[in-house]
């Protein structure tokens, strides 16, 4: 068991080392006849904010779910800490990796607080949460700004409030890797900016943060590294300044765009011209 465990990053330790967390070699996914992802080979490191972008059906969510160990039948090798993701005991894996789905279809009247506390499952020892668990839950709810509606039925929340509760649940896991599937789709502007800031803070504390998004400006502002997927292939991989060019946006997304660059700042884009 010990061999699996990744130590959680210490918030204070700002060591410059970029430890390799994920190693992907020829990773792909096939559903019956159709191949949705093929031959993805790359490494992902600690203290890295990665944005995965691409048109619909490019394989973004598939790649994220493979990283989260949720798609058992993938092709190639996807290793976390040198061990294939699907061979990790789920409990150890959940202590290292927090996964934030786009939405959750809830059938039962769990409160927001209960949903967030479910993030402590992998740390649980007894029947009920310990004081340490509640401290993690409180911190997570503060970070994702959902303490104000903690006692409400999850199903009564708006789309954006749900996303914040789901994010808090993953933060309560205290993972060293966060995988997010379009976490800001339903958020209002203030919370988009706030979540963005929280994720960058966590990156600075040493976490690997991987986010799937459709918003290229968000991707450029948030990330140190952009992965562009196109029809299941890794079309580009690099810093946002290098990746976001008018040429690439037209080639991959089939949209004419103007990319604005200023020295020392992240690029930003206007579409349609």
């Amino acid at each position: 068991m010990k061999a699996f465990a990744l130590p959680a990053p210490a918030p204070s330790a700002l060591a410059p080392e970029r430890r390799t967390l994920y190693s992907l070699n020829g990773v792909g996914m096939r559903y019956g006849e159709s191949t949705v992802l093929r031959e993805v080979t790359l490494d992902l490191h600690a203290r890295e904010a990665v944005a995965i972008v691409g048109p619909n059906g490019a394989g973004k969510s598939t790649l994220l779910q493979i990283l989260a160990g949720l798609l058992p039948g993938h092709l190639g090798a996807c290793q976390l800490n040198g061990i294939e993701v699907n061979r990790w005991p789920r409990r150890d894996f959940a202590r290292a990796v927090g996964f934030i789905p786009q939405n959750v279809q809830m059938e039962f009247p769990f409160s927001v607080e209960e949903v967030v506390a479910m993030g402590r499952h992998a740390h649980a020892a007894g029947l009920f949460e310990t004081a340490e668990d509640w401290a993690a839950v409180e911190d997570a709810m503060a970070l994702a700004d959902c303490a104000a509606f903690r006692h409400r039925d999850f199903r009564s929340l708006s789309g954006g409030e749900r996303q914040r509760a789901i994010l808090a649940s993953a933060l309560a896991q205290r993972p060293c890797i966060l995988l997010l599937d379009e976490p800001t789709t339903w958020l209002d502007l203030r919370h988009q900016v706030e979540i963005h800031r929280v994720l960058n803070t966590l990156r600075d504390e040493g976490l690997l943060v991987v986010m799937v998004t459709h918003d290229l400006n968000l991707a450029a502002g948030f990330s140190d590294r952009v992965l562009v997927l196109e029809r299941g292939r890794l079309a580009a991989d690099g810093r946002p300044e290098e990746i976001f060019t008018e040429d690439l946006i037209e080639r991959i997304f089939r949209v004419k765009a103007t990319v604005h660059r200023e020295a020392g700042a992240k690029p930003w884009m206007l579409y349609g011209r």
């Binding site: 959940a94 009247p109 009920f128 409180e138």
Partner: protein, 345 residues
Amino acid sequence: MAAESSPASRSPASIPLAAPRRFTIGILSSLALLLLALALTPLIGSVPVDLGAALAGRSPDAEILFQARLPRVLLALLAGGALAVAGVLFQALLRNPLATPYTLGVSSGASLGAVIAIITGLRSAFALPGVWVCAFAGAFLTLAVVIGAGRSAGRISAFTLLLAGVSVNAICIAVVLFLQYFSSLAQSFAIVRWLMGGVEPVSYSTLAAIAALVGVVVAYAFSQARNWNLLAVGESWGASRGVSVQRVMMGGYLSASLLTGAVTAITGPIGFVGLIVPHALRILLGPDHRVLLPCAFLVGAAFLAVCDTAARVMLSPADVPVGVVTALLGGPFFILLLRRRGRNL
């Protein structure tokens, strides 16, 4: 959005204790209900029983209390508790609040087994009544077929399982009706009586065997309570928070089916307990399975014991099928709860 809050600065007083407190309150009141039912229901019946005379071993009070009523009450307690827990489990695993212990066809399978035993005149097998053995076998064959149909690439999908369950249910009921159509009048009566369900007095050794089985399975289900919470939200939700989904789900389906199969084999199908008790408790105590599951066992037990007593005395000396009473007593109460707290269902 305070990024700098530290866990150490929090005082214990601000830590919410909602779940443990609800657990204590829920368990104590459910236990009180159960003890009340256990103490009162054996004394109620078409013939009054003198408790002092019965305890002194005087006839006929002792025979009525210890041979007729108490075994029946104890069986009702075990059956009610088992069905309520099975309902909780199936609702969580299938993520469907309308699931019952019978949704996956376990009871129709048991009915088919029982009908075959009645028609072939199989009186006993393995030193047990033939109807019990065949009904239990039917329940488990059905479950095997449903899980086999609902599995693909080594994974169980709740949705496919639900569809497979509904189909197998329909097939079993069709075969039961077909067999009944060609059976004699006496057999047909026995079949209808079995399909209505009912609690009959059984021997103490049988009771001990069922109690052991139900006890072990319910204890296992309770030990997995955190897992049911996560699976009730979703399979990938559970997996990404540390649940070994396939193994835990298989354990859940097996437990719920063991409880349903064992009880149904002896009592026949008894509706409503597995639907109404979990829902009423979810409205009163919330959806947390650490609280819900043990309380469902205790309250389900008390509920069926009370319903069975009502069935005994309602039109005494005639014995009304207990399923009629569970629906008549439980239905209006449930609608009342819905009207008061419908928002939280």
